[in-house]
Amino acid sequence: MSWWSFERRWLAVIWQTLLPSGTPGGLALGARDVPMDRFLDELLACAPRRVTLGARLCVWLLTFCPLFVIGRPRTFPALAEEERRAVLAKLGQSDVYLVRELPTLFKMLGALGFAGLPAVQAEMGLAVRDSSAPDWAGEPKP
C-alpha cells in the first residue's frame, strides 16, 4: 500500500530529527544523506501489513501531538528542530507505555535501514563485510 507524499515527508522529518547529519563527536552521516525514502518503499513492499499500518498511524499521531506534548499548536514537521527533539524526548519519558514506545518504533524502523548501510557502518567503526549497499538502497545518492 503506498503512502501519500505528505505522509512520506512527515516520516522523513521524524527520521531526520532522530538521526541528524553532521553531529560533532557523532556520525557525520544522518538520515538526510542516505536513501531512507527507498527504505520506506522497501518496508511498504515487504513488511507485514499490521506493521506498516501501525507505522502510518504512529506518523499521524506524532505529527499532530505537539500541542498536547509541548503546548505548541503546530504539526511536528513545522516545529524547529530543537522543539521536535523536545517532543520526542518527552514522549520517550512518558509514564504511558504505548506513548513512550512511539520514538522507539521510529528508531527501530529507521535503524533497519540507516544502520544497515555500509557507509554508516564504516562510520561506526565496523569492519564492514559487504562493500555494496543492500538491494533496497541501490546506488547511493550523489
Binding site: T23, A47, M124
Partner: protein
C-alpha cells in the same frame, strides 16, 4: 530415490506435485532436520515440507534487514502481547531457527529432567542415559566444543574478566561450529557456513541420503486414512510476495512428523482439529525472556570481531537466570541505545567501544498461541511479577559485571533510570519500581510447551512416544511437547528428543 531441495521456481509450471515417502516431516529446523538425519540413514524414504526458502550462503548479507527479509519469520516483527510487547524471534527458512541462532549448546539440566520425571511422569519415556547417548553423537556430528581463544574477541573475554574478578562461575560457551572465523554474524546467518546449523548439516546430509525437501511450501492439512495420518498437503508459496504455486500432495506410508516449532505446531494442529479436546493445545507457552545490558568501555571492544556468543555464566541458574555475551549488530544496537538526535549519533559513533551482554530468565509465566485475524498469529505472553523480580536482579548483576570488567558507564535500558549510569547504586530506584514488564525491552527466543506430552488425552496432546492421542501416525517432535522450559539454550535438547522419536519409528 535421489534427494533434492525443490522450490517454487522449480515447479511453477506444474499443476500439482505428487510424492510418497515412508515418513513426511513438517519443518526443517532443529527437530525436523534431526529426525530426517536419523530416518534417512536408517534406510527410510523421507520428504520434508518447509515454509521458508532455501537461502544459499552467497545470498546472505551482513545487514539485519536482508536477513530479516529472507531468513527470519515475519521479518523479525512477530510479537507477543501482554502488558508489554515482546518480540518472539524465529527463523523461517531451510534450517529453521538454527540458521540464525547463536550456536550455544547445552544439554538439558538433570534437575529439569528430574522435574519432568517427577511432575509429568516422563522419566520412562525419555530416559536420561538415552538422551546422553544421543548428545554424544550430536556433539561429534555437529562439531560441538568450547569457543577457541582465537575467536573469543573482547566482548566475550571481558565477561570472563568480570566473572573472575567477582568470583562467580563462568565458561567458554560450547558451540556447534567447525572452523568458526569469529565474524559475529550468527544472527544474520553464518556467511561462511561454519556454524553447523541444520541448513549446512543435517538437511544436506539427509538430502544426500535421498530426502526430498519442498521449500517455500507450507504444509496446510493432513491426509488421513482409516483413522491414521497418511500424508500431508501443502502448497508452494513465495514467502515474500505470497504468490501461490502448485499444490503438493505427499503420501506417508509410515508416519507424519510435525516439527514446525512451538508456535506453528499448535496452529497446524488446531487448524486440523487435532489435540483440541484436552484444552491445553496452544496454552502453556513457556519461554526464556531476556534483555540486554550495554557497557561503554574506554578501550575498543569491537564486538563485531569474535564469536557472536562465546562466554556465559550459569552461576545463578538456580535463581532462574543465565548470562551470556551477545555481539549486537549495529541496527539492533541503534534501536537499543537510549539517545535521540545528536545524543544518539554520538552513541553510535562509540559503537566500537560497546559491550553487550544478556540475561535470560527461566520464566514461570505461561502464554498462549492461537490463529489471529487475517491469517496471522496471536501470541499472548506476560511475565509474572516474580519473573520481573528475577529480571531486575539479573540486570543488576550484569551491571555489576560490566563495572567489574572495567566499563566506564552502563546503559541499563530500563524505563525510569538514567540513560547512562556510572555506579551500580544508581540502579536502586529499579527495586522500588513496580514489578512491571513495561520497564524493560525484552525478547523471547526459546519457546516451549504448546502441545504438551503426557500420559493422558485428558491433559496432554501427545503421549510419551510423541504420537498424538487423537490421530495415530501423527507425531509431534519439537519443543511444543516440552512440559517446562529449561533455563539453558534448547537446541541440543530439541535435537535429542527428535532423535529419540525418530529412532522409535525405525
Amino acid at each position: 530415490m535421489s534427494g533434492a531441495i525443490v522450490e517454487l521456481g522449480d515447479v511453477r509450471d506444474q499443476a500439482r506435485v505428487e510424492d510418497a515417502a515412508d515418513v513426511v516431516i513438517i519443518g526443517t529446523g532443529a527437530a525436523g532436520a534431526t529426525a530426517a538425519r536419523v530416518l534417512t540413514e536408517a534406510g527410510l524414504d523421507v520428504v520434508m515440507f518447509e515454509e521458508g526458502a532455501h537461502v544459499r550462503q552467497e545470498q546472505l548479507r551482513s545487514d539485519m534487514w536482508s536477513s530479516f527479509k529472507h531468513v527470519w519469520r515475519d521479518l523479525g516483527f512477530q510479537v507477543a502481547s501482554g502488558r508489554a510487547f515482546t518480540p518472539v524471534l524465529q527463523g523461517r527458512c531451510v534450517g529453521g531457527t538454527t540458521t540464525i541462532n547463536g550456536a550455544i549448546i547445552h544439554r538439558m539440566p538433570e534437575k529439569i529432567w528430574a522435574r519432568w520425571r517427577d511432575e509429568f511422569g516422563l522419566g520412562g519415556a525419555l530416559p536420561y542415559p538415552e538422551l546422553e547417548r544421543i548428545w554424544d553423537v550430536l556433539d561429534r556430528e555437529l562439531f560441538v566444543g568450547p569457543a577457541p581463544e582465537s575467536v573469543l574477541g573482547k566482548n566475550n573475554s571481558l565477561m570472563r574478566t568480570a566473572t573472575e574478578r567477582l568470583g562467580i562461575a563462568g565458561n567458554l560457551i560450547r558451540r556447534n561450529v567447525s572452523g568458526c572465523e569469529g565474524s559475529a554474524h550468527c544472527n544474520q546467518g553464518c556467511p561462511t557456513g561454519r556454524r553447523q546449523s541444520m541448513n549446512v548439516s543435517y538437511v544436506p546430509r539427509s538430502v544426500a541420503a535421498g530426502a526430498r525437501v519442498y521449500a517455500t511450501c507450507p504444509a496446510r492439512s493432513l491426509i488421513t486414512r482409516r483413522g491414521r495420518a497418511a500424508g500431508v498437503v501443502g502448497q508452494f508459496r513465495d514467502p515474500l510476495t505470497g504468490a501461490r504455486g502448485p499444490e503438493v500432495v505427499v503420501h506417508a506410508r509410515r508416519a507424519v512428523l510435525l516439527a514446525a516449532s512451538a508456535i506453528q505446531t499448535p496452529l497446524f494442529l488446531a487448524k486440523n482439529r487435532i489435540g483440541v479436546g484436552a484444552g491445553v493445545l496452544g496454552k502453556r507457552l513457556q519461554a526464556h525472556p531476556g534483555t540486554a545490558v550495554v557497557g561503554v568501555f574506554d578501550a575498543p571492544v569491537e564486538m563485531y570481531r569474535g564469536a557472536t556468543q562465546g562466554y556465559e555464566s550459569v552461576h545463578y541458574w538456580d535463581e532462574r537466570m543465565k548470562f551470556e555475551t551477545v555481539a549486537m549488530p549495529p541496527e539492533l544496537a541503534m534501536a537499543r541505545l537510549p539517545g535521540l538526535g545528536p545524543e544518539l549519533m554520538r552513541e553510535l559513533a562509540q559503537y566500537a567501544h560497546l559491550a553487550v551482554w544478556g540475561v535470560q530468565v527461566r520464566a514461570e509465566a505461561h502464554g498462549s498461541v492461537r490463529a489471529g485475524l487475517f491469517g496471522g498469529t496471536h501470541i499472548a505472553y506476560d511475565m509474572t511479577d516474580a519473573d520481573i523480580r528475577v529480571l531486575k536482579l539479573g540486570v543488576r548483576r550484569l551491571t555489576e559485571m560490566m563495572f567489574a570488567a572495567g566499563a566506564r558507564q552502563v546503559l541499563p535500558g530500563v524505563h525510569g533510570l538514567p540513560h547512562a549510569i556510572s555506579s551500580v547504586d544508581e540502579l536502586s530506584p529499579l527495586f522500588d519500581a513496580p514489578d512491571d514488564p513495561r520497564l524493560f525491552h525484552t525478547i523471547a527466543a526459546h519457546l516451549f510447551g504448546t502441545a504438551l506430552m503426557g500420559g493422558s488425552a485428558f491433559n496432554s496432546v501427545v503421549g510419551p512416544r510423541f504420537e498424538t492421542h487423537d490421530l495415530p501416525g501423527l507425531f509431534v517432535i519439537d519443543s511444543s511437547v516440552f512440559p517446562t522450559n529449561m533455563g539453558v539454550n534448547p537446541q541440543h535438547s530439541i535435537c535429542a528428543l527428535a532423535w529419540l522419536a525418530a529412532e522409535r519409528l525405525v
